[in-house]
Symmetry: C2
Subunit: 329 residues, 2 copies
């Protein structure tokens, strides 16, 4: 385990040592992620393997950052209006170089799905540029750039999807300023099942449901569960993971926005999952299971419920991705 | 790491297997403890080595529990009014035996000091009886009995001092019902320095200062710190332990009751300690340091401040006690 503690301020100095590699173009896979994870609201997240965006990052003579291709979803080409563009610019502005980058985005993660769509974009561009530059920045520094892109989408600076997308596995964002990201161990046999109901939850509506004040007794329950979950991940104690996956603060409010949430959660637990909750701010629902078979059983159980609702949905079953964003070509 | 998850209800059946050992009398050391540990309000605790009560537990023909000697502090002899007596009775009532126990208490931990005085008494009697009976109960079951004694002193059922006194090291009380106690690893070079100002803080006054509601943003900071502290203890990351020892929920309110708290904390940190905070509900202040030498430097720094205040005080410097309550004769 490593503690990554760097302030964004130090990034420009770290960049001085970059190398211009021979490689001029790479294709990367930038994974979807689950933030909050029940008891870890705003701090915890984990990384998925089976769904993510692909992006091509290319070194070009023309200075600056240009988004040259977007497939999958309708997103802005203007660099300063595009999440991947903004995070790329945040890094680019710290560099003293006489060339630029083009970015192609092959978007698989639907914006607004609750599984880190904007984080994947924000992470992909800076990870790819960093690789082409010979890795002048560490992952915490990359997170600091990506936060700028994420902020464009979510209107606030947070890293609970960015961190698992960059580091892989489970991450705990201890603080944003200074940025401190902890890598929590991932037990070997942990699998996620995700349902993404194809509905739109307005961010403003989801935010309005968050209580400004919470009962101290509930807060104590929540931090007991989070402390316990961190311990359970360290000790690969699946029963304790299950006991810890409870959210008494946010889920009671936000779950109302997700159709059939209670039924899905009940069916998921009856199918043997360790726990379930809202992925990020929804509408996706995540669950964790001890084996791929259980994760597949959970998928069947959710499909049985959702196929009768008339609501379109997508499902993902994935091993926890311990690598995070990676080069694929 | 083991998960101890037992409900108190199961204790009577577990007791059926007890053995009457030849041993008729033992002397035990029941240690002082620090609860809350800054970010772990109501759930976290650790065990001290250099101060604790001694107790003699004796098997006698006469049925029932009798407190036969108390030295050190003026405490009630009536079994049902004495913390050690009440926890002993809670265990005794689950047993089907034709003999009783006498308890002698040599009290070193001043009641109301904030370092687990009542917990040491509550733990000592049930630990000693369990040893004389051949250990029919596990430590979580013993905690469930001791909670009854602790409740006599503190008017509510909590285990954040009991758990470290019984298990040693750092413990996290995940929940009271069912009782779930987690043993968090203790880094090798961790030492505590404690100052106990000889003042009385009324429990009612200390309670009244606790907010019923807390800002969600503060709660998030607190659970980020607790999750981080659990991770830091698992990874023996002293810098991260230091970064995590912050309490934004309780300390800002309760520290007002402790004379010169801010000065002491400042001096402690300047002396190289990893962190400092209120021990339990005070008035004791704890700090943690990476080496015995630093813990001693911290002691000097605190003495310099407190010796000028006119307030009487006691100090303790202790390695973290990873064994907990133990037989000494």
């Amino acid at each position: 385990m490593e503690l990554h503690k760097e302030s964004a301020i130090s990034c420009s100095s770290a960049a001085e040592g970059y190398l211009i590699e021979k490689m001029n173009e790479i294709k990367i896979f930038s994974p979807a992620t689950v933030a909050n994870v029940s008891c870890g609201f705003d701090v915890l997240g984990f990384c998925l393997d089976s769904i993510g965006d692909e992006m091509v990052i290319r070194k070009v003579e023309k200075k600056g950052i240009a988004i040259t291709r977007i497939e999958g979803f309708d997103l802005p080409y203007a660099t300063e209006l595009n999440v991947a563009g903004v995070s790329a610019l945040a890094m680019y502005e710290t560099l003293d170089i006489d060339f630029g980058f083009e970015i192609e985005i092959y978007k698989n993660i639907k914006p607004g799905s609750g599984i880190g769509s904007s984080a994947a974009s924000a992470v992909g561009s800076v990870f790819g540029m960093n690789e082409l530059l010979g890795r002048p920045f560490n992952k915490t520094e990359l997170t600091a750039f990506a936060i700028k892109g994420e902020a464009l989408a979510s209107k606030c600076e947070h890293a609970d999807n960015l961190a698992p997308a960059l580091f892989g596995g489970f991450t705990l964002v201890k603080s944003i300023s200074p940025l401190q990201i902890l890598e929590i161990p991932t037990p070997d046999d942990l699998y996620a099942t995700i349902i993404h109901p194809q509905i739109e939850i307005k961010t403003s509506e989801s935010r309005a449901l968050l209580p400004q004040k919470v009962d101290l007794s509930d807060a104590i329950t929540q931090w007991a569960n989070l402390g316990s979950l961190v311990h359970a991940l360290h000790t690969s104690d699946y029963e304790l993971i299950s006991d810890s996956l409870n959210d008494v603060i946010v889920e009671p409010h936000r779950s109302k926005l997700i159709p059939h949430f209670d039924n899905v959660k009940k069916a998921v637990l009856e199918s043997g999952a360790l726990g379930a909750g809202i992925s990020g701010s929804g509408p996706s629902i995540f669950s964790l299971s001890k084996s791929m078979q259980t994760a597949l059983n959970v998928k069947d159980a959710i499909e049985n419920i959702y196929s009768e609702t008339g609501i379109k949905f997508e499902m993902h079953v994935s091993k926890i991705n311990t690598q995070g964003v990676k080069i694929i070509e």
